[in-house]
């Protein structure tokens, strides 16, 4: 009876679901591919989401920053070609100042400094012109509560009282087109984000499922040995989740590096209409949810696959 000395009365019961990893799935061949796929998908998801965020940033900057924006110009040269007197120029500026302060439909306005105006003008004159001696117009940038044709007409009427060559410059004609363009780009970005999101879900789920198919025999065997479905699926879930987590972390780290590189390379300065690629805390949190989503997808797919495999067994 020496042989059977190892025996003792075991309590037959359900699996205790300990954290031990019965199946060293991580050694299996397809793992690398699954990892790569999840990484790629996370990367793409991150890229498109960032794109959508940036596009949102651009349009909101434009619509809030430019749509109700106008500029009042007191030309330095009068319509007869004579230079305006410096005193007259500041008198006009003060009058306008007073007028603008009174108008309820004007949110804010600011008289631009001589230097700012010189900066704006200099590109047209070449770098070697001494702007200090130039006759410069006075520019007042105005932010309106709303920019209906009505209000613009009213402002035009009023400023013409002070001098009839004072001009009000708005950006409507081209801005509406730009906003339309931005709108359709943003629309595309949302669509593409959705598509990539769907692709990511399908690809992760598909990869997990096709990996699981490899273990169909193992699942059947564990079932025949009396393992509960929780015992079986927990093995595979842990495996898939770890792989997907690794993959998506790799993906978003690569993504972050790519974004960094991109924002260094892309030609966007301070005065540009294109905002620098600056993501807020909220956006970063959303992006960091990508690995969480990947893990969740992997977890659910593994569970469903195992349960379906089990339900397909003859008993």
């Amino acid at each position: 009876m020496a042989l059977l000395a190892f025996q003792h009365d075991k309590k037959l019961g359900v699996a205790d679901n300990s954290a031990r990893y019965d199946l060293p799935l991580h050694n299996s061949a397809g793992s690398g591919f699954l990892l790569l796929l999840v990484a790629l998908m996370s990367f793409l998801a991150m890229m498109t989401m960032t794109g959508a965020f940036a596009m949102h940033g651009v349009t909101s900057m434009w619509s809030s920053g430019l749509e109700n924006q106008a500029t009042i110009e007191i030309p330095a040269r009068m319509s007869d070609g004579e230079l305006r007197d410096k005193n007259e120029l500041s008198a006009l500026r003060d009058k306008l100042n007073g007028f603008l302060a009174d108008q309820s439909y004007i949110e804010s306005y600011e008289v631009m400094s001589r230097e700012a105006v010189a900066d704006l003008v200099s590109p047209w004159l070449g770098d070697d012109v001494n702007t200090a001696e130039l006759p410069l117009p006075v520019l007042i940038s105005v932010k309106l509560e709303d920019s209906s044709a009505d209000i613009l007409y009213r402002i035009r009427q009023n400023i013409r009282k002070y001098a009839d060559d004072i001009r009000l410059d708005t950006h409507e004609s081209w801005l509406s087109d730009i906003l339309r363009l931005a709108g359709s780009l943003q629309f595309s970005a949302v669509i593409v984000t959705l598509i990539i999101g769907a692709t990511t879900v399908i690809a992760i789920a598909g990869a997990v499922r096709s990996r699981m198919a490899e273990f169909r025999g193992d699942i059947e065997l564990l079932h025949l040995m009396g393992a509960s479905s929780t015992y079986i699926s927990s093995q595979f879930q842990r495996h898939s989740v770890i792989l997907s987590f690794k993959g998506s972390i790799i993906g978003i780290i690569t993504g972050a590096l790519a974004l960094g590189l991109f924002s260094i390379l892309s030609p966007s300065g301070a005065e540009s209409l294109v905002p620098a690629l600056h993501l807020g805390l909220f956006e970063w949190i959303i992006l960091l949810l990508i690995p969480v989503a990947a893990c969740l997808i992997a977890h659910i797919t593994a569970k469903i696959t195992v349960l379906r495999t089990l339900s397909e067994l003859p008993l």
Binding site: Q7, A15, R20, L222, M225, G226, A227
Partner: protein, 233 residues
Amino acid sequence: MIKFEHVGLRYGVGPEVLSDVNFSLEPGSFHFLNGPSGAGKTSLMSLMYLGRKSTRGRVTMFGQSINDMPQEGLAKLRQKIGVVFQEFRLLPHLSAFDNVALPLRIIGTPEREIMSNVNELLEWVGLGDYKQSLPLTLSGGQQQRIAVARAVIARPKLLLADEPTGNLDDEMGFRLMNLFEQLNTMGTTIVIATHSQAIMEKFGHPRMMLGHGHLNIEDPKKNWLQRTMDGVF
């Protein structure tokens, strides 16, 4: 222990592989299952280890009817059954040790106990040097011994072995048969499918003969008179 009443089995839309099988096995009994290749031995086994549902008739195991038992109940029953599959069915990703340890892990045996029991059994079947080998690096006979070890490690109430000595020389075959005999004396009910006349003759347990979908039990220990009497009454 096991009771089959008018049991039939067909795969898909094919012909019936088993038709009207009737028998009952007492706890602690030891039977050989015999019949030509393709007769349905493996199929009959799969009904007994709860791997398939019969397409008709009633199967009773451990006193409980299988036909309408919920999954948890079936899992509990399966934990009391040890199976040696004809094609071994070892987990290719697991070492010999982990393959043998699996049934113990499923019922939640403490790791320390698993260590000593599995090691002892592997030594006994002559595989002490192959504990960490993966099944694919083992010879046919070595794999078969691991399959046998896995089936007996949790000391099942019912042991079903499908051709457990097909890849083994006679000496190792008899050695494993002795292991089964020992388990049997400790109360395990045993059914062994085999083609080997040598083994069936040497151990002389009653034989379940399968052919044309029907099953007859012959007991060579009963003499001619007794068998005739059985037929009469």
